[in-house]
């Protein structure tokens, strides 16, 4: 313990005296959370839409108003012929066209079932996806209201085919994008800081020459690595505390699950991030190399984590990569714990996966690390 203690103490003092690092540690989470939080959870409002009403019923005529009043769409025109719709999309005047078919109102009330056609400008697939989601939501609640209206009772046993039973949005009823995105950013920050700091730690000592003094001392490599890593883990927790505080106070992100359980998960996860950093430092000769390797890994981990790009949208043959990505587990754990208030049992599996990853990465790093110079 004496030796590990000496290394921990030295590392802690050095970290504390590294002004730039300390400033970065405080500023980075704030800036990233503010900017990314807003950018990533921005909702698109006022999407230009054109409605093509072929039904011309009382019901269909109220749809444009309904779309506009949601705020998500701005209905720029209502047409009565299908052929005139393409013009709006082609010219880029509208991003969305809503085509209400003949007999829409009749079919809906009689319970035969009906459909509404949506034409989306797919150039910006992101907007298209969002628009489709909003449209579905709006139309569904609209139709739902019409049907549950006692004056327009459905025939016995008829279920409107248009409505699928579990469209209701669970856990995040107001569809608060932030509640979904901010936990992802928290994980991203934690991953970035701890991986980078650990990757640089040993390489830096190699560069300035102090590593040679450490290697020649009668210290076991495990002692050396643990001593180096402990302060980095503490840095990770401080970073996490700042992020969580900010998420809670600024974005009012709910944290419904147990903080204790979350800390346990984070501890397990840190073995992966710190271990990855160590692994990088056994490969890199210079700080610059360490930086590049780490950034490459981090970008890859982030893209494949479901934090920004939903994993469900990934091609099948890519999805296995995401399933090997510890960050995607941590993002899941964080979202489930914050939003759903998930307890130990539902998170157990992810926790185990994280533990396995951590163990493997860390062990490989320790095995690869040599108490000799190359």
């Amino acid at each position: 313990m004496g030796r590990i203690g000496a290394i921990v103490k030295k590392e802690t003092i050095l970290l504390r005296r590294d002004r730039i690092l300390m400033a970065l540690m405080l500023i980075m989470p704030l800036v990233q959370l503010v900017i990314l939080g807003y950018v990533l959870s921005s909702e698109i409002r006022g999407i230009p839409a054109v409605v093509c009403d072929l039904d011309r019923s009382r019901l269909s005529r109220s749809i444009p108003r309904r779309l506009s009043s949601s705020g998500y769409f701005k209905v720029i025109a209502v047409e009565n012929e299908e052929s005139s719709v393409a013009h709006y999309l082609d010219r880029g005047l509208a991003s969305v066209a809503v085509v209400i078919p003949h007999g829409f109102s009749k079919d809906l009330i009689s319970g035969v079932g009906t459909g509404i056609q949506l034409l989306l400008d797919g150039q910006d697939s992101n907007t298209a996806t969002l628009a489709a989601g909003y449209l579905t939501g709006i139309l569904e609640s609209f139709i739902g209201e019409q049907i549950s209206d006692p004056l327009k009772t459905l025939p016995e046993g008829a279920v409107p085919a248009f409505l699928s039973p579990d469209i209701r949005i669970r856990y995040n009823p107001d569809l608060r994008q932030k509640d979904f995105m901010v936990p992802g950013i928290v994980v991203m920050l934690l991953t970035m800081i701890t991986t980078l700091i650990s990757a640089m730690g040993l390489v830096r000592e190699r560069e300035i020459g102090t590593l040679e003094q450490l290697l020649v001392a009668p210290v076991k490599k495990q002692e050396l690595l643990i001593g180096k890593i402990i302060p980095f883990a503490v840095v990770g927790f401080i970073e996490l505390a700042i992020s969580l505080l900010f998420a809670k106070l600024w974005y009012e992100i709910p944290i419904r699950g147990s903080i204790g359980l979350y800390m346990l998960m984070v501890t397990v996860y840190l073995f992966t991030t710190l271990g990855t950093g160590l692994l990088v430092s056994t490969v890199a000769r210079t700080q610059q190399q360490a930086m590049f390797i780490t950034i490459f890994l981090l970008i890859f981990m982030m893209i494949m984590s479901g934090f920004i790009f939903p994993l469900e949208n990934m091609p099948k043959n890519m999805r296995w990569m995401a399933s090997m990505n510890p960050m995607s587990f941590m993002v899941r754990v964080t979202r489930d714990l914050f939003i759903k208030g998930a307890g130990f049992n539902p998170l157990y599996k992810q926790g185990m996966m994280l533990a396995v990853f951590g163990l493997i990465v860390f062990s490989v790093a320790v095995i690869r690390f040599r108490k000799r110079m190359s």
């Binding site: 004496g2 030796r3 203690g5 000496a6 290394i7 103490k9 030295k10 003092i13 050095l14 005296r17 590294d18 300035i208 020459g209 102090t210 040679e212 003094q213 450490l214 290697l215 020649v216 001392a217 009668p218 210290v219 108490k371 000799r372 110079m373």
Partner: protein
């Protein structure tokens, strides 16, 4: 404080036989053999790239030899590196203290690394011949103190655990003459306490302070012996002339 005898072979602290080290197909150290007597100051001379640092690193167990054998206090440098680490002190050529730690924090850290308690470190520093200077600068960041003192601080850190053998790789490079004299006073003090000192240097006046010398050139030992016997053998008035004669001659020969 005196090194335990017994494992030593005929009073030799370091024994090297046919030791070689290659990097790729370049042979940095080429089948060298020499012995260092227990308690002596052994000087290692050589031009840049002669292979001095590579030799020291092998003796400290930091790199493995390609072939040949080396014993430090009777311990094999290939197989017993961990044991060797406990009984040697090493100041690398690029000895780096932690520049952002204060003088006393550096002492404390290196002491702790060798398992010394705070009290032991304090006692050790008090005993040291540089105690006064270290005391005066104890709270200062290491980057701010004079180079001469830095080197003495580094030496104090390297001998915190009373090593039997001390390896110093160009400890006085770039240091002014007064500071070099102070540093050598420390080396002599350690040697008289029974520590074997293995030191590389480029300064020929320092070579005169050594009990015995080896001159290394292009990975080989070109000559060895006491300063006096070397001067006699090569009929030179100073070690510097002897060195230039030896290394310069071979250099010209190689250039042909």
């Amino acid at each position: 404080m005196s090194p335990p005898a017994g494992r030593l072979q005929g009073g030799y602290s370091v024994v090297v036989e046919d030791l070689s080290r290659s990097f790729g197909d370049f042979c940095a150290v080429d089948r060298i053999s020499f012995q260092v007597k227990d308690g002596e100051i052994f000087g290692f001379l050589g031009a840049n790239g002669a292979g001095k640092t590579t030799t020291i690193r092998m003796l400290c167990g930091l790199i493995l030899p390609t072939s040949g054998r080396g014993l430090v206090e009777g311990l094999d440098i290939g197989k017993e590196a961990e044991e060797i680490r406990k009984i040697i002190g090493y100041m690398s050529q690029k000895f780096s203290l932690y520049e952002d730690l204060t003088v006393s924090e550096n002492l404390e850290f290196f002491g702790g690394l060798y398992g010394l308690s705070h009290a032991q470190v304090t006692r050790k520093v008090k005993e040291s011949a540089t105690a006064a200077d270290l005391e005066a600068f104890s709270g200062r960041r290491t980057r701010e103190i004079p180079l001469g003192l830095k080197q003495r601080l580094a030496l104090t850190c390297a001998v915190m655990h009373n090593p039997h053998v001390l390896f110093l790789d160009e400890p006085t490079a770039g240091v002014d003459p007064i500071s070099r004299r102070d540093f050598w006073a420390l080396i002599h003090e350690l040697a008289s306490g029974g520590t074997t000192v293995f030191v590389t240097t480029h300064y020929m006046d320092e070579a005169e302070y050594c009990n015995r010398l080896a001159v290394m050139h292009k990975g080989r030992i070109a000559a060895s012996g006491s300063p006096k016997s070397l001067k006699n053998r090569y009929q030179k008035g100073s070690i510097e002339e002897m060195f230039i004669g030896l290394v310069g001659r071979e250099r010209t020969a190689d250039d042909d």
